[in-house]
Subunit: 490 residues, 2 copies
């Protein structure tokens, strides 16, 4: 099979398909009569190149070749996959398929990005109907794995298996839809929510922003990792899916949504759903599912903290209220107690632990970096100072592991400044869990000008801060674990 | 104000509220006639203690005291916040509120966890109606920030502001709902999707598992960070929200969902929504929003990779197809080329970079750890070997930063084994971006028995693997950067 894809219709969706193929090593041929198509696809590609390659923990294949073509016939010739993403008008789609089929190979796959049309509608009047099917992606196509595949009996089973494997090879998740239906599966949910949301805005119950917050601070995060049914199975608790349905069954008749055309709530329906739910999630106990859900939620919310967005931004704001511009015992730099300064106190989160609950090796450096950041803040190298153009860069790090730490344990880091003169900053962190010294981190940093990326002397506020720390720590002796190398064997 | 909360009705929701208060330093008094209540709440608390403290980057306050009480009167006395989470029957709720108000302080807040009842319904017949309001949480209550607050005009504005601030202090996001409506906001969406999903299962279009996958591999991940409207604003591309609405407006009449009671699609409605969307998201250009969305998606999907769940599990499976049980140039340990072995090739993902696009300090250790894991795999210390009870633990790490790396850049790590004898393994990684040496990582590891956590000699397959590497690298000399200490000042 040639690794050549033809993209008929650029735009956000077509461009996303182009990027998905191209970055996975396929050659991509684009046809789009829009004179802006090349620019628009270039912008989607720039986004894809920013985001997709690093999503993988291994290098992707070399990018394929991208070319633009003046006719559908030229674009589709020799292509193994042809993706149609023209506007949602059935007559236009029929005309496009006719042009494609006049020029493409008989064994080419022709997917349509349609949000709503059924494959039987797309195939009407086609010379080779079985070649055409719905391959409905989700924006951004270069990142989200879901592709809904809807075919008719015209497409042979072995062809479906072949196209499924092809999409899996692009890192996608093809969902093979059992029966055709308007808007397939996911868009039916989206359309219901959209219609419900329009009512809420129109009736003045909520603004667009309030609705978005109602989604992303609550069920949206849950749905990023478990869907509707698995989430409700867990919510049902020990009693499970049947219990959940019994509890909320009567509510089906209540005006909790404008969607009032509901299926009859029979024992048969309950059994059907509870049975499918058992098959889907029965390998895990409710307790296990709760833990999995919680660990997923914590990991995603902490990922959003690093992006300072959504629920992560809320958490950052809350953290900020729990600490002031002082050390963690509440002392400013001009009032420090003698000795090492407390620069970190926290619990080990689930996403820092391996499946046995031990804190991962690399997370010790996360903790030491947070301690270093805190120390810098304390001496005046805070976000304003950094925004003004200067900071410290770490040149060298030496970590010694002396014990183990577990998920949920409280850890504390105390920091001794070994040197803080001119451009140089030499820090020694000790991490304890209770009384146990579990790790040390020794760091050599250089003060830099962020525009030149070259070392320079710090500003007067930081010089003063460093001197105050030096004075508070003048009685401390050189720690036994500092200044050491990993021993050369033999 | 006393930091005392009364929880009336345990179970999953009441228990979640109890945990939220308790772990934020409040004393919590529980009333629930269920003889299993104490056990059930204990289980919710165990989950909360596992997940919540580490969500924060600073230590939470000391936990409050938890007590169980035999009557509502005893539980609510002196409580500042009383949360009702009894079953969804209005008569039962009225009875509960009467008992609460007979014993609680006049300035206590009485929130109801009801999913569907309006506050005016809850207040019927109450002695002090303005004290009662909806405070609707989302499961798990100890993790998800959203609380829908729905009050009637009976509750004074200053009381609403006071209760809002109280919830913010617990790390929550109180959404103040403008008008009461059945099922508030979020549950209207959930109920619409639930009803739509029941039809799909009943009609044999999809199974519960397929529906869940249609959610979590597509729009679910998007909704974890931007809601419906902001997502569609971005999808509208350069032309924005009005364009999006014009495109999908006609579809409102199409049978894309069973929810066919739709608002009239007037210019007024379009202007209302486009205006609110501008106010919500207008501070960012579409290009900026695309980048924010993509960085959020990558960060969350990579967080799910670490949990090996959902979209993350898909990505891990895909990564596995891109590498075999060989070095990254495809050579097994008995066919290695002379010299250092390639143990990592990848692009720097957005979640490894700071806001300026530079790779974060701690992520260098992530890269070196991945290289070490790969090296261990190559010599036979793979997942089967580890599952059988032995592995390597890192005792010491020394990182030198020699250059900078940027988001999207390809990095490569080559590994030299300095020592691989008995329990000891001494590795030296060099990280390059193109030809530039950007960092080195020196690691001293000990082979351990995972049950005793004590050093022991490796198994014969690993001994053989190490010998093969030693042979392939016998011509390498001691690297200039290894065996060095951070220099002691003065």
């Amino acid at each position: 099979m040639s690794k050549v894809a033809a993209i008929i219709g650029g735009g956000v969706i077509g461009g996303g398909w182009a990027a998905r193929f191209l970055l996975n090593g396929w050659d991509v041929r684009v046809f789009d009569p829009d004179p802006q198509a090349e620019r628009k696809i270039g912008e989607v590609l720039a986004n894809a190149r920013h985001a997709l390659p690093g999503l993988s923990d291994v290098a992707l294949p070399e990018e394929g070749r991208l070319s633009f073509h003046g006719s559908i016939a030229e674009a589709v010739e020799g292509a193994a996959w042809i993706q149609e993403s023209v506007p949602e008008r059935l007559d236009l789609k029929h005309k496009t398929f006719a042009e494609i089929q006049a020029a493409c190979g008989a064994d080419a796959f022709i997917g349509s990005s349609t949000s709503g049309f059924k494959p039987s509608e797309l195939q009407e009047g086609a010379t080779n109907p079985g070649q055409i099917f719905v391959a409905h992606p989700f924006n951004p196509v270069y990142l989200l794995p879901l592709i809904e595949i809807v075919a008719t009996p015209e497409t042979p089973t072995e062809r479906l298996e072949e196209l499924r494997a092809l999409l899996v090879g692009l890192g996608l998740y093809p969902l093979m839809v059992r029966k055709e239906i308007d808007a397939h599966i996911a868009d039916r949910f989206l359309e219901a929510v959209w219609r419900e949301a329009l009512w809420l805005v129109k009736d003045g119950v909520a603004t667009t922003e309030e609705i978005d917050n109602a989604i992303r601070y609550g069920f949206g995060i849950r749905w990023a990792q478990m869907g509707l049914f698995e989430t409700y199975r867990v919510a049902g608790g020990e009693a499970g899916m049947k219990h959940f349905m019994a509890q909320f069954g009567p509510a089906l008749k209540w005006p909790w949504t404008k969607l009032m055309d509901v299926p009859e709530f029979t024992d048969e329906l309950v059994d059907l759903i509870a049975g499918q739910s058992d098959e889907q999630s029965g390998a895990y106990s409710i307790r296990q599912l709760e833990r999995i859900r919680d660990d997923n939620l914590v990991a995603m919310m902490r990922a959003l903290k690093a992006q300072d967005w959504g629920a992560g931004a809320l958490l950052n704001a809350h953290d900020a209220t729990l600490r002031a511009g002082t050390d963690l015992d509440g002392r400013a730099v001009d009032g420090l107690a003698p000795g090492a300064v407390v620069t970190l106190r926290r619990a080990v989160p689930p996403d820092w632990a391996d499946y046995n609950g031990h804190m991962n090796e690399a997370r010790y450096l996360d903790a030491f970096c947070a301690a270093t950041d805190r120390f810098m803040e304390l001496v005046g190298c805070d976000s304003d100072y950094i925004a003004a153009g200067m900071s410290y860069f770490t040149a060298e790090t030496h970590i010694r592991h002396l014990g183990e730490v577990h998920l949920g344990q409280k850890i504390e880091v105390r920091t001794q400044m070994l040197l803080g003169e001119g451009k140089k900053l030499h820090l020694y962190h000790e991490m304890r869990a209770g009384e146990d010294l579990v790790a040390t981190g020794e760091h050599f940093l250089l003060h830099v000008d962020l525009s030149t990326r070259r070392p320079c002397d710090p500003g007067p506020e930081v010089v003063t801060g460093l001197a105050l720390v030096a004075a508070a720590q003048s009685d401390l002796t050189w720690p036994e674990g500092a200044g050491r190398a990993i021993r050369r064997p033999g």
